[in-house]
């Protein structure tokens, strides 16, 4: 932004802003909120809903505040009669095209259109109801996402999200005039197109037109079935997001309250995905070291850089867009799926429960995990390993449905077994976290010493830069790892699939080379996942990240290999990392998919 300042008046109050500042931002500076619908802080400006129009004194046309830069001498009125009438009309028009039966809508209570309709006291029936007569499609084909065109206001936030943040472009605008709509490639069902199920579009849809497919009723049924033993696992990022749905400000850590709430909801065992996050580090760390050994000592051809595999949106992205790099993906399942496979084997054995009576539920910040749980490969226990995946938002809704006063709950610890975890697992929820956790463990395996970073905080891989790189020099190796002596381990981290795409193109073209790459499909990592509370923006994601790192620092154990339950499971069940049993239960393979 330029240093040159422009002076203008908004509602007769003078204000001075850097050249290029929009009227919307200038008004915010004076604490005037201008309503918006198509505008989103994470995205480019569209200026199509027109609900943000303001009056510029002397101009014939109203101006879209989100799109028009402030200019010298401008006099803006944000709340004149002309402006209010136009906004009211615009909201009334949107509602006339909209199936506005809010009581039946999943977004009721968290809908930007509904809020504006209320604020402007609109007459929903001023204009002719266009929605009733139209044949809108509701696409339920995906296990993750429901696309309901009857609730779409054509703001194109989803289109921009999928293109600008995710580089996928599964959604696009089709047709013109009254037929204009948000569509997929040749209007194929969502399940059949390039969509990664990341849910980022859901996070930015202002209405109920894009929502996750919910499995709340199925989970209530399981809980209420006396013959079922219902285990629930909670992903790292849920504990720092859930509070937002239940009255807290972003960045509140509610781990203990969440566990209490889950017990009150009636889950038979409340366990932690963090346990299998630690397990992932053991498996994936060993896999990395094995690949390095094959490359450096045995001079075998192995796929490097190795790439993380815990983000199912990223996996599907690779399957569609870079099928030639599938070998590079770690074969480790995501922590959710490791957990699912173990719940119906290891856990069932230990607890003496017939696995066919176990219902395995997971609470995820993610919508892609709903798809992942339904992949045909994910049945290594002999059953569907994870039966139902709920988002952070769905859990919030269940807690509300149960009438639980969340803020007043005491803390509880996780049950065991598979409830114990370390700080290394918690940071899986933030971009760079898997890398940091892996380095904490791998470095120590190889050298017998802690990673050379203050307080174990590997800050170069943290932060919100789209792509980050770091080099760790390995020195003082234990004898069996001497082949790594002096090696500069080159790693990279990307979050948001558009960044991943850039990185993959560079790797593919041989412009950049690394040993290990972490990719999370969602901006910010899982803390910004498609199943996390709405709204989202950079500020909120930063607060969630702070909470994650605080949770890590507050843990007594902060390295995956120090988790006592991890020792136990290798001792009693798995043998060692990459054992035959591990491969059977904890590893998977990938399939190339088509480009569109």
């Amino acid at each position: 932004m330029s240093n040159y300042m422009v002076n203008l008046k908004i509602n007769n109050i003078p204000v001075s802003v850097p050249e290029g500042t929009t009227i919307l931002e200038a008004a915010k500076k004076l604490n005037f909120r201008i309503p918006t619908l198509c505008y989103h802080e994470d995205l480019s400006v569209a200026g199509n809903c027109r609900v943000c129009v303001v009056e510029q004194v002397g101009a014939r046309l109203l101006q879209a505040a989100c799109a028009i830069p402030a200019s010298e001498g401008m006099e803006i009125l944000t709340n004149s009669n002309k402006v209010r009438q136009a906004r009211k009309h615009i909201i009334e028009l949107l509602l006339s095209e909209h199936r506005a039966d809010c009581t039946e809508c999943y977004k009721n209570g968290n809908c930007e259109l509904q809020d504006l309709a209320h604020e402007y006291g609109v007459n929903q029936h001023l204009f002719i109801d266009l929605a009733r007569k139209r044949n809108y499609t509701i696409d339920r084909s995906s296990p993750s996402i429901i696309k309901d065109d009857s609730r779409c206001i054509r703001c194109q936030r989803c289109v921009r999200t999928c293109d600008e943040l995710q580089g996928v472009s599964a959604l696009a605008v089709a047709y013109k005039g009254e037929h204009q709509k948000i569509s997929t490639f040749f209007e194929h069902p969502m399940f059949e197109v390039v969509c990664t199920n990341c849910g980022q579009c859901i996070n930015r849809c202002p209405t109920g037109a894009l929502i996750e497919k919910t499995y709340i009723d199925e989970v209530w049924d399981a809980i209420n079935d006396p013959n079922k033993h219902v285990v629930v696992q909670t992903a790292p990022a849920v504990r720092i997001g859930l509070g937002e749905v239940l009255g807290y400000e972003p960045g509140e850590r509610v781990t203990g309250k969440m566990v209490t709430a889950l017990k009150l909801l009636g889950f038979d065992s409340v366990l932690d995905t963090d346990f299998t996050a630690d397990l992932t580090i053991m498996e994936e760390g060993t896999e990395l070291l094995t690949r390095l050994k094959k490359a450096l000592v045995d001079k075998e051809k192995v796929a490097l850089p190795m790439m993380t595999s815990c983000s199912p949106g990223w996996i599907k992205f690779q399957e569609h867009l870079f099928p030639n790099l599938l070998e590079n993906l770690s074969t480790c399942k995501s922590p959710q799926q490791m957990f699912g496979a173990l719940a119906k084997t290891y856990y069932a054995q230990k607890r003496g429960i017939d696995p066919k009576n176990i219902v395995s539920v997971s609470i995820m910040p993610c919508t892609a995990k709903k798809f992942e749980a339904n992949r045909p490969e994910m049945r290594s226990s002999g059953y569907q390993d994870v039966d139902y995946v709920l988002t952070t938002r769905e859990l919030g809704l269940m807690i509300k449905q149960a009438g639980i006063d969340f803020m007043k709950l005491p803390d509880s610890p996780y049950d065991n077994i598979m409830g114990e975890s370390t700080g290394a697992a918690v940071i899986f929820g933030a971009t760079g976290g898997v890398m940091e956790a892996a380095l904490r463990t791998a470095y120590e395996i190889v050298t017998g010493r802690e990673v050379p970073f203050r307080n174990l905080n590997i800050t170069p891989v943290r932060g919100f830069e789209g792509i980050r790189e770091a080099t760790v020099k390995i020195e003082g190796c234990l004898p069996e790892w001497s082949f790594l002596e002096g090696v500069e381990l080159k790693v990279a981290v990307a979050h948001g699939l558009a960044n991943a795409k850039k990185l993959m193109q560079a790797v593919n073209d041989g412009i950049l080379s690394y040993h290990f790459i972490e990719v999370m499909a969602c901006p910010g990592g899982c803390l910004g996942g498609g199943g996390q509370p709405i709204p989202t923006n950079l500020e909120i994601r930063k607060k969630r990240a702070e909470a994650i790192y605080a949770e890590d620092e507050g843990m007594p154990l902060r390295k995956s290999h120090e988790n006592p339950e991890i020792h136990l499971i290798y001792q009693d069940f798995l043998g060692k990392p990459l054992s035959h049993k591990s491969h059977e239960l904890l590893h998977t393979h990938y399939i190339p998919r088509k480009r569109y």
Partner: protein, 387 residues
Amino acid sequence: MENKLKKVDLIFCKTCQDDIEVVKKALKRNPDDIINEIIDSGLKGRGGAGFPTGLKWKFAKAQPSDIKYVVCNADEGEPGTFKDREILDQVPTKVLAGMAICAYCIGAKEGFIYLRAEYNFMLNKLNQIVEEFNSKMKEVGLNFEIQIRSGAGAYVCGEESALFESIEGKRGEPRNKPPFPTVVGLFGKPTVINNVETFVYTAMINHLGAQRFKELGTQDSRGSKVFSVSGDTPKAGIYELELGMTVEDFVKEFGDGDTKAVQVGGASGHCVPRKKFENTIIGFEGIPTGGSMMLFNSSRSMYNVLKDYLEFFTEESCGQCTPCRVGCQQLLKGIEAVKRGERPASYLEELKKLAQTMRIAAKCGLGQSVANPFISIVDNFKEEIIY
């Protein structure tokens, strides 16, 4: 019968100028002088919006950029307009000469003609002419090349920023303004976009001088303009007329004796009823027009006329912005409901308010101008709409 209407023969005259000589002459002049002369001539854009052409060129020239573009808008999608087709068919090199002079003035090396998809039948011939012209430009020492792009077949792609998007290979959706094309235009570069006819007048002014042009027309509407006359008229066709005439003058020449209304400026223009013929000037001080003049006699139902227009806009809106996408549908459904008695006549007042909102809140000229036919027809032919 006395007729004040003055026919002019500047545009289509094939012997008045040698277009390559016209460019050569311009190349000897200082660009600022050329631009100032165009400003002095009072020439306003002939594509509908009527922006002073010389100023547009001046703004583009002032932009510090190595890459600039000249674009000729030949999308001609306004129903009832077919003058640009005629110009490109009859005197194409006049258009190219105007573009070349513009390129010289602002410092552009590339030009585009965005040709309406329906005019593809001319494409081969035009391509040949353009190629010849391009090599002539090399010969005379102007580093400027024109290419033709075939339109996307949507009315909205005639809107300048949607046209840029379309040339860039994207969906033809209008952009936010500002920034205006002279600052951020095609491929994000400073761009002059003018109508086919506008370019011809720029070349002509360069050839004959501003004075000749200023002799024609009025204070606010200098020069002449090409009109596409259609509807209930025995003389449908293309006519170059001096600006500043009244609708009365026009109807005297082109009416069939029973004219009850004239739609000035096509679907997005205004409807002038008989009682206002005398006092309405065709031009920027009265009702501006991109050239379309449609006459209606008493056999026409103005309800049907309006309904046709609204159906056109409902289809042709790009659909991105709320006031236009939904507003058009509501206006259309609204008059139908009033006609059928499902809504009271007073609902027309609500619809007029809605049209006013569209006029000031829609994102581009398409949605903004729907109020023109709507309000002028509803106000002047209310009975026909209701009963």
